[in-house]
Subunit: 396 residues, 2 copies
């Protein structure tokens, strides 16, 4: 449902605390990590507010980070998508803009006859790869477009072109095989001819610049651009900002047009930043990564500790006087699976006209008793706006 | 959501136990039949797994057998449909193929002036009707198409044409009245002209063959074909087989391209068959009819006994080592109503990465506390695939 005709801006402030990978499941050993954690402050929010559970994409569907965050921000992830290029750029804190073309690159080793000897240049060490990328960035020059290179790790590098009239419909040059030459840059649409020509010239210069290095060329795949997406401000009338520890989540926020605060080192610094940006914004996205990382490691104790770390900053957030607070995950990461999963994530909404239910403890099973029910994650955004008094009546 | 891009085949085995008409409702007399039944083995699955409830088509909508099974198999019954012809053929264990045209026929009695004297030939006894149908099958011959007749019961007979270029858009010949002649076979589309002509010739021969019998013609209605439907294997990457006591459910499985095992006499024989086909398949559909029949008879005690009969085979199923087991119904059949109903059916999922919830007893009310929540039945299929590790992540 298009909320724009209903938007009623006011002075309310909404805080969304996202514990990445928060959800989990109980097994013969007992409750989930959230249920085992000692969380007096989250429990107080639950007792004073309402709880429920959210499915992020759909029944049985395990979300990646892109769909997980889109749903959190109210963008139905079956309707909107962040391409791999956009996410790669986000993860490197590189801003991909609509019209830019990005690809994932591999530093590789070509034999003297131009065939591929090693697709990853012997998994070249980051310390050796980074100067090569810097040299390319300094020396490559293309006519009328800007080239942005961002070294990721080992042989991986993001290659981005920025300028007018670019088109991502270009075939991969990485043949995913050795002993053969790289594929040429093939336009899959006549509109992509110029982009293919520019990339061909990039490739020529790169081989020249790297001719004596261990890695002497760049294979590319997954050309992508940023599909234009309605901004968060446009959809909800909110002046949002993002306070995250990892570049990926700053990047996703940036794509939706949110402000992005400086990168924080830990939740304590996130609190500091929240205080600094409090007056200038009305929606605050606080992203906590450690819960997901612990889940991926299969470390239940670490996940419990990561949850408790967020519990500890809740009083400081409440002191700022937010009108509405939501705490949830972008997908489950059960330590039993060491991976993202499809399980519904617990949701807690506090403040405004949310109302309170019987749930007094924040956890998957208590949340299944909550008044918010089991619903799609993208429905939470209108519920937050409503709780904050920011949505007018629909129909007379 | 199209699951095909996410499918990740593995060696897991999924068992679905369908108690036809399982759901019911409590009234002043106390709990539902499932709640009153003694089901230690189903309760153990519930305790170790997760429970919930499913609405088969939508709120307040009472499903027929077609929509009930389509939903169970993950085909949204508001998007896919099994026509009456397809279901009639399935119920007679006749294979209707895409392109075949089937109709429901009535053996009838025409007066000497060609008007209808009795639309059901005096509800002719099956013993008298069957030889007439056999005679028609033996003697009718049409140019270029095969005729398949299947006697159902009393005056009812399935008429099916098989061949190239057939089209079901032909009007009913049964005028649903006596004292008037049958309608001619009218094509409702020029493409159905040949089909109408073939049926007219069938009718001419049938009247000739039956001229001295009590039933001397066949009225037809509900011309239908099998709409091509994506197969179960194509949608889910599963090699499924169907173990049923009634032809209808074998037929529905066959339409979806599942293998169909020999017809079983009772749950004990179904177990025998399950053991035989275990190694060659990875999805097993076990259909139990007695629950529905008891509900239709308004016999609560019989429905309780039918549920307990399935409970008794659970240990043998567990011994085979399935990865994921689901137990549910295709619709409710409350004995109080002696009919199918719209009430949500209880669902139990055990195994894989399902997780366990607090529900320790399989029943409608306990299931309403379960972590699977209240959802559409067609969502259970992706949940089973996910629990079995057969779905990759959606989005990066």
């Amino acid at each position: 449902m298009d909320l724009r005709p209903l938007l009623a801006p006011n002075d309310s402030k909404i805080v969304v605390i996202l514990l990445d990978g928060l959800g989990g499941f109980a097994d013969a050993d007992g409750g989930t990590e959230l249920e085992r954690a000692t969380t007096p402050n989250l429990d107080a929010l639950a007792a004073e507010g309402s709880c429920g559970r959210a499915e992020v994409v759909g029944a049985g569907i395990t979300p990646g980070s892109g769909p997980g965050h889109l749903a959190l921000f109210g963008y139905d992830p079956t309707e909107f998508a962040l391409g791999r290029g956009a996410l790669s750029a986000a993860g490197l804190d590189v801003e991909l803009r609509a019209g830019d073309v990005a690809a994932r690159g591999n530093l590789c080793t070509l034999s003297s006859d131009g065939t591929i000897k090693d697709r990853r240049a012997g998994r070249i060490a980051s310390a050796k790869a980074r100067p090569l990328v810097e040299r390319l960035q300094a020396e490559v020059a293309l006519d009328g477009v800007e080239v942005v290179l961002a070294h990721e790790k080992e042989h991986r590098v993001l290659v981005m072109l920025r300028g007018e009239g670019l088109d991502p419909r270009v075939g991969d040059t990485d043949p995913q095989a050795t002993g053969v030459p790289p594929h040429p840059f093939t336009p899959h649409d006549p509109a992509a001819q110029r982009t293919a020509d520019l990339l061909t010239e990039f490739d020529r210069q790169a081989r020249e610049i790297l001719r004596d290095a261990d890695a002497n060329a760049v294979l590319m795949r997954g050309f992508d651009t940023l599909e234009p997406m309605p901004s968060f401000a446009e959809r909800y009338g909110l002046n949002a900002t993002s306070i995250a520890i990892y570049p990926m989540y700053r990047g996703i926020s940036r794509i939706l047009g949110m402000d992005v605060e400086r990168q924080a080192a830990d939740p304590a610094e996130q609190m500091e930043i929240l205080r600094e940006c409090w007056d200038a914004h009305d929606y605050f996205f606080i992203h906590h990564k450690a819960t997901d990382a612990a889940g991926e490691d299969g470390d239940r104790e670490a996940k419990i500790a990561a949850i408790e770390e967020i519990d500890a900053i809740i009083p400081a957030i409440r002191e700022l006087g937010p009108d509405v607070v939501m705490v949830t995950g972008d997908h489950a990461t059960p330590p039993q699976m060491r991976a993202h999963s499809w399980h519904p994530v617990p949701v807690l909404v506090w403040g405004g006209n949310t109302g309170r239910d019987r749930v007094t403890r924040f956890g998957e099973e208590p949340c299944s008793d909550g008044m918010l029910g089991l619903r799609r994650m993208s429905e939470m955004m209108p519920l937050l706006l409503a709780a904050a008094g920011r949505l007018n009546k629909y129909g007379a």
